[in-house]
Symmetry: C2
């Protein structure tokens, strides 16, 4: 992706480090620093571990103009609506445009973030093709520097299809329960409920419909259905044993 | 919005502060802390300025169970896919569900974030109705604590319609240029180009089509169209003056 993150005059090294971590989290690789107040790759890596690949490519510039000289599309982030006529985008729309541009070999997109204390100045915004304003609280609009980076990096990852990647955790350890397995469960569950006299004062149909609803809403997988069915069966067996021992006791 | 942010055993006060700032940026108001390693509202406000409204409502608990006892929908954030069968969502889908739930009076949604160094444990995830995994780089999935908070808070703000709020910067200082204003501009621009002999070696039609394309693509507002037209007219006048003085000189 032909996208570079440009931090203009970052004042604190820890913010650079957090921006680097956010970049690494979402697959951005190129960082440019314009006149950073402090920068030391070693200390940055002490905060943002395992980011040597990004840190090895960091480029420093004395002026913003030098930093974006080779960029074809410059996007400036600002919480304030200062330049009334510039095209201002929301991060989501900006992400779609940036991704389309960055896919072209001859394009290089710069994401420009200003100083922690004052953001991008009007002169710096004058270098931008687009302005992006993250839709934050009107009375408290200014985001932490690395927070702004992470929101945009996240939107770019989404635009690139990250959401369509399967969630790792979605792996199932068992197959979904087939209809017949569920029906067997309901039969045995009803038997178990009869065993404990659950229907003495309750309507079978209503109760069993609730049980079905629960099983479908979860929805149960094969292993879970089998487990619940086994429990039901054991309840029935327990009832049988108890009844048998009672008869035995009664006979004594 | 009936949503509380729950930080489980946060180890560093600065992370709590950054989470508070992110909450304030996106309209979340309630923070609960479970056994924080360090917490001091005064110091937090020193990092996250003007957040006294949130800090005044912070609640601390000794255990996670106490912290979420009154919550009806608990969402745990995890980078790892540990609990294979739990429903795992992406932030965007989670935001839609959370917002729908949080609109109900009798619902209280908890957003659960684990320790900086290890995230939520399996035992903590056992308390969750849902797990959310932010779609980050597979080889570097673990987000900074406040970065995870900001991504979710941002998605909740979007789900609540923040993107449909007009961008502040979109205010125009002038009306859009009407068709006739643009046509007058093109007439005068063509005259100006004739004045400087621009069409001597160039095709009038091709050049003027490019000028039109530019004006439409911008698109020009009324004030800009008037300004460009004034420049064109002044070029023509300058040419006239120059021609006149030449004639004068020639006559001498």
């Amino acid at each position: 992706m032909n996208v570079v993150v440009v931090l203009v005059e970052p004042q604190e090294l820890v913010n650079v480090a957090h921006a680097v971590r956010a970049m690494k989290n979402f697959g951005l690789r190129d960082l440019r620093l314009v006149a950073p107040a402090e920068y030391d790759a070693y200390r940055v890596e002490g905060i943002a571990h395992q980011t040597r690949d990004i840190l090895g490519r960091v480029r420093q510039f004395e002026t913003l103009d030098e930093a974006v000289a080779d960029c074809t599309h410059v996007v400036g982030f600002t919480a304030r609506g200062r330049r009334a006529k510039r095209i201002t985008q929301r991060p989501r729309d900006a992400a779609a445009e940036i991704l389309a541009l960055a896919a072209e070999d001859d394009q290089l997109v710069a994401l420009l973030f200003g100083r922690e204390d004052k953001g991008l100045t009007n002169e710096q915004l004058d270098r931008c093709h687009r302005m992006v304003t993250i839709p934050s609280d009107e009375d408290y609009p200014s985001l932490n520097l690395s927070h702004a980076v992470v929101v945009m990096a996240y939107e770019l990852a989404l635009a690139a299809g990250a959401n369509s990647r399967p969630v790792k955790a979605a792996r199932r350890v068992a197959d979904p329960a087939a209809r017949e397995e569920l029906e067997r469960l309901f039969v045995d569950a009803e038997r178990a409920l009869r065993t404990i006299d659950f229907f003495k004062t309750r309507n079978v149909e209503h109760v069993m419909r609730t049980v079905r609803d629960l099983a479908h809403r979860v929805p149960l997988d094969e292993r879970e259905a089998k487990l619940l069915r086994a429990i039901s069966i054991e309840v029935v067996k327990y009832g049988d044993r108890l009844a048998h021992s009672r008869i035995h006791v009664d006979r004594k």
